[in-house]
């Protein structure tokens, strides 16, 4: 074939996301857009207390209210459903279960107590106001350290607020190393609680059809297949009769990687009433009833030689997991443990993760999930150490980097880093920021009373999750490629993108391999009736794992197409080359047969090659052999207004290495969003509870999700160090922005204020906190 005929290269190209025109012109279809005839609406009555005994529930007025069809109470629900599922079960962990409605004792503000089902949402909300729940308020425990030290018990029957303790590393070796270290840094570091805030709150529509006995559930979820299995158990409908559809999903950030009470309730109500039942969360509910993220206190000890060589690292982490475990709650802090070592050679390392119950909303996976915490601790620790040693923080980092020649690298935490070149990313970042010039400018401006600072974060993270041994429900992924009779291509994937753009990137891969136009490929996801199996989208896994299942299926299609071609052209399959949708004879490239022609042969099936089934479709399950480990360097430049404590983030440089890139636009988009969230953890976002367990930052008016004008224009660059873990060489990029950025900001602010004597400021860096730190360092009051 000639070069002119060859279709354009697609892999690696900045193709605009194909899903966007639909999403930004209002033609997307979210759960709340679906309105099957006869849909009923479900509204929840929630606990206003963080801890209380329910002494009476009177639903009689609500039952008789206009439009009300059913009222579900705790007793009823406890008999008719299984508890809210918990998949991550650690050794020795306490696991207090709850049902979709709680009757006896409520344990956090927002916990569901009664459900109303009515003809419309307004009538349901009106009726909810008529439900009378009597509570006897009990003392609540909000602070995890207090919870450990004999505060009120969240779960009386456990006799303790301790959920589980997980050690990692070699505690004795770490203790010895730190005792013998020439310099030791000790610091308490708070990684505060965050609220995920997807732009679309949770939503679910359950439709039980009594004829076939099927339950179809449309849910704003990241894990339709897991939800199918778990909901089948919870709502007691045989799994083969359950279909879950994730239509367009307006963001998840981990908080839709779960099974929620409302999903169980909608399913139960629909089964009972034999009508569709919809629940759509309000933003207010989203703040208290959808999982939160982070909330880990680290007590860090970092030991080094005077010349900066790290000798030991020990950390005790107290994770406030809230009132109950959700699907993966307990496992999230253990990801922090796994990633403690970061990008450095540390000869002795030990961690202890202590998970604690409090009367707050349960925590679970939130973008980054465990790695932002690990990165924050170590990268803050490195800056504290640099300050103590009087060493340049860049030099200190470089001195301890795992070298580019040392991969695969075994960590003290039992991981094998696949590949990396940490110096390359750092070098690139330093060049962009103009480090040396910045330092002289900084010194000059300090003379003029202006406080600028630069902060670094050199991170490594873990993604491509992951080997099945690392996940309670499997870490593989499935993918199908079907060449239709006309030669058009349908890709079905078990991942469930909700903003990550796989409708584009997967189509790029399939179109390039099969030599068809990208418009000839449709990527289908999120429907368990169409996609036979899958795990879902989280842990930056979709491309590295789901994309690999796709590649495996493309390999199979290629092989089968060759068989058909060989048969038709009367040559050996081995003599054929598959390229760009054409099969041609190696030695006689003018002899070709095209994909649509092969598809016709495969489906007409008149003259089948020996031992070959009709059809041109392949399904593969990919089980990854390892995680992947993206890395990079983030740099922040800030100026602090020492009069008000306000921080002006002037520049943010992000150099990320996610291995091979399928679509640089999508990579940039993922980094942008991740940076916004990671920077916001440092500057804007903090879930704050009062002593009674009321969420003070309970709305978008009080909890700052950053707007574009609160962030600088990001300066992005990449290095490319492919992974050998998968054939794409791709590592994953969904979370990196969140993981690397946060400590860079805090390091920059502390760098700015170092001449005033400031050594550390806890996140979030509220102006008031910054001003207090300045005043405290000066040794006076404002």
């Amino acid at each position: 074939m000639t070069t002119q005929e060859r279709p354009p290269k697609l892999i690696g190209e900045p193709i605009k996301r194909r899903e966007d025109p639909r999403l930004i012109t209002g033609q997307g279809s979210y759960v709340d857009d679906l309105q099957p005839l006869g849909t009923l609406h479900l509204v929840i009555v929630r606990s206003p207390y963080a801890h209380a005994r329910v002494t009476g529930i009177d639903v009689s007025a609500a039952r008789n209210a206009p439009g009300v069809v059913a009222v579900l109470t705790p007793e009823d629900v406890q008999q008719s459903t299984e508890p809210v599922p918990v998949a991550a079960q650690l050794e020795g962990m306490h696991m207090p279960l709850r049902h979709a409605l709680t009757g006896g004792e409520v344990k956090f503000v927002g916990e569901p107590v009664v459900a109303i089902v009515a003809e419309d949402r307004y009538l349901a909300a009106d009726a909810a106001e008529l439900v009378e729940v009597e509570y006897e308020e009990l003392p609540a425990v909000i602070d995890p350290e207090q919870a450990l030290e004999g505060g009120p018990l969240v779960h009386d029957e456990l006799g303790t607020n301790l959920c589980v303790v997980s050690p990692i590393g070699d505690a004795e070796a770490a203790a010895r190393a730190i005792e013998g270290a020439e310099v030791v840094i000790k610091q308490r570091l708070m990684n505060q609680r965050l609220i995920p805030n997807p732009i679309e709150p949770r939503a679910v529509l359950a439709h039980y059809e009594p004829g076939p006995g099927t339950l179809t559930v449309w849910s704003s979820t990241q894990i339709p297949h897991l939800l199918k299995t778990l909901l089948s158990a919870c709502a007691r409908v045989p799994e083969q009769l359950v279909r879950v559809v994730a239509p367009d999903v307006g963001g998840g950030f981990g908080c839709k990687l779960n099974v929620y009470p409302e999903e169980i309730l909608a399913a139960l109500a629909s089964r009972r009433l034999e009508r569709p039942v919809k629940f759509v969360e309000t933003r207010q509910e989203n703040y208290v009833a959808t999982i939160h993220g982070r909330d880990l206190i680290g007590h860090l000890e970092l030991g080094a030689k005077r010349d900066g060589t790290l000798v030991g690292y020990r950390i005790k982490v107290i994770a406030d997991i809230g009132a109950y475990q959700h699907l993966l709650t307990a496992a999230i802090p253990t990801l922090t443990a796994l990633m403690l070592q970061g990008v450095y050679k540390i000869p002795a390392l030990a961690g202890e993760i202590v998970e604690v119950f409090t009367n707050k909303t349960p925590t679970d996976a939130y973008r980054g999930a465990g790695r932002p915490e690990a990165t924050y601790y170590l990268e803050r620790g490195m800056d504290l150490l640099a300050a103590e040693l009087g060493m340049d923080p860049v030099e200190l980092r470089r001195k301890n980097f795992i070298g580019a020649g040392e991969f695969p690298f075994d960590t003290q935490t039992g991981l094998v880093y696949d590949s990396g070149d940490y110096d390359a990313a750092l070098d690139k970042a330093l060049a962009i920021v103009g480090y040396d010039d910045f330092r002289s400018e900084q010194a000059r401006l300090r003379e003029a009373g202006r406080y600028l600072g630069v902060g670094f974060s050199t991170y490594v993270e873990i993604c491509g999750v992951g080997p099945s041994s690392a996940l309670p429900a499997g870490g593989w992924e499935a993918g199908t490629v079907r060449v239709e009779r006309t030669g058009k291509v349908t890709v079905l994937t078990g991942v469930s993108p909700h903003g990550q753009g796989e409708e584009t990137s997967f189509a790029q891969i399939a179109a390039e391999r099969l030599g068809v136009g990208i418009e000839d490929v449709t990527v289908i996801h999120g429907d368990t009736a169409q996609v036979s199996a899958g795990i879902g989208t989280f842990g930056s896994r979709s491309l590295a794992v789901g994309g690999t299942a796709l590649v495996m299926s493309l390999d199979k299609i290629e092989a089968k197409a060759k068989r058909f071609a060989a048969h038709a052209m009367e040559v050996q399959a081995d003599d054929l080359e598959f390229e760009a949708g054409q099969v041609f004879v190696k030695d006689a490239p003018e002899k070709t047969i095209s994909l649509p022609e092969i598809a016709t042969l495969a489906y007409n099936a008149v003259d089948l090659p020996p031992d070959t089934e009709p059809g041109l479709e392949a399904t593969s399950y990919y089980e990854p052999g390892n995680f992947t480990f993206p890395f990079g360097t983030h740099v922040a430049v800030v100026e602090v207004d020492t009069d008000s404590g306000a921080i002006d983030l002037q520049r943010f440089i992000s150099v990320d290495d996610c291995g091979n890139i399928i679509n640089p636009l999508i990579v940039e988009g993922q980094i942008h969003g991740g940076l916004a969230q990671g920077i916001a953890q440092a500057l804007y976002e903090e879930a704050v509870y009062d002593a009674n367990g009321q969420l003070l930052s309970g709305s978008l008016m009080d909890y700052a999700v950053p707007r574009a004008d609160q962030l600088p224009s990001f300066e992005l660059a990449t290095t490319v160090t492919p992974t050998g873990v998968n054939p794409l060489g791709a590592k994953g990029v969904g979370e990196a922005g969140t993981i690397g950025s946060t400590p860079a900001i805090v390091n920059a602010v502390v760098d700015a204020l170092a001449p005033l004597g400031v050594q550390h400021i806890e996140m979030m860096l509220r102006p008031e906190r910054v001003l207090d730190a300045i005043q405290a360092a000066k040794g006076g009051a404002r």
Binding site: D126, E285, M701, D702
Partner: protein, 286 residues
């Protein structure tokens, strides 16, 4: 997020609107809806009737007459921000309006709604105080004029009677040698003011003839600091005088305390922002 049931009326005339308010005890006027609807969605407000002012004619003009600029109650923040007349003749108002919320909020929210709602963190109250505006209220009993200084009574409470419509804001046109500025320290979440200081300085022969320092966000209602104004008056508007005046701006006031700022920090911010607003105002007057 799901309001209770309510009736809705959109009368064509101001008299009809007033009559509807008279007849319905818990009726509420609806302007841009950007303060009222959030309250209704949270069921913190549940009026039985909304009287929408959007069809009422004569409430959306910005005109100059007899040394004052008259701004209709239904004029949006965006219209204020973009008004050439205001930018030329009373630039403090556009400067303040431009800091409100975001584009959508400014396109919907109105000056009448903002002043009548009297949110302690709203921006426009500081502007009308600094400009010594007169507010026109119309009710069943007729029209009356209330000075901005007497308008803000308490948290979310104004001198308006429940049956009155704020129809117009009258701003005396500042003379030659007048400068103004607004220094807002926004809440990063709501973008309302944690503290905002609007300053106006009238200079004559190199001396401050009159100064007005209006503070919002810090206390239950926006206020004018007489102490700060007095300190500045007669001075040359130099840095030392400004710093001293700014230091007085929070004096004797009970600061709000919430998640975004403690009382002590708010008092500190009042001084910082007052200093910045005054310095800018003096420079603009120059």
């Amino acid at each position: 997020m799901i309001p209770a049931a309510f009736e809705y009326a959109a009368p064509d005339s101001i008299d009809e609107a007033i009559a509807l308010l008279e007849r319905n005890d818990d009726a509420k006027l609806l302007a841009g809806g950007h303060s009222l609807l959030p309250l209704m969605k949270l069921r913190l407000a549940a009026p039985s009737l909304l009287v929408d002012l959007r069809r009422v004619s004569g409430l959306d003009g910005i005109e100059e007459a007899n040394g004052e600029i008259r701004i209709g109650g239904m004029v949006t923040h965006a219209a204020i921000e973009r008004s050439d007349l205001l930018v030329r003749r009373a630039p403090l108002l556009p400067a303040v309006a431009a800091t409100i919320g975001d584009v959508q909020v400014r396109n919907r929210g109105t000056i009448g709604g903002s002043l009548a709602h009297a949110d302690p963190a709203a921006d426009l109250p500081a502007a009308v105080l600094a400009l010594d505006a007169q507010l026109v209220a119309r009710g069943a009993a007729g029209e009356r004029v209330v000075s901005a200084a007497d308008f803000f009574v308490d948290l979310l409470t104004t001198a308006l009677d429940p049956g009155e419509v704020l129809t117009e804001v009258r701003v005396p046109v500042p003379g030659m040698g007048s400068g103004s500025a607004y220094a807002k320290f926004p809440n990063p979440a709501s973008h309302y003011a944690i503290v905002g200081v609007a300053a106006r300085v009238d200079m004559q022969d190199g001396r401050v003839r009159e100064a007005r320092v209006a503070v919002t966000g810090a206390t239950a209602t926006a206020y004018l600091s007489a102490a700060a104004a007095a300190r500045l008056q007669g001075s040359s508007g130099d840095a030392a005088a400004i710093a001293e005046a700014a230091g007085l701006a929070a004096e004797g006031r009970e600061m709000l305390e919430d998640l975004s700022a403690s009382a002590a920090y708010r008092a500190h911010l009042v001084a910082v922002q007052a200093r910045r607003a005054l310095a800018e105002a003096v420079a603009a007057a120059g």
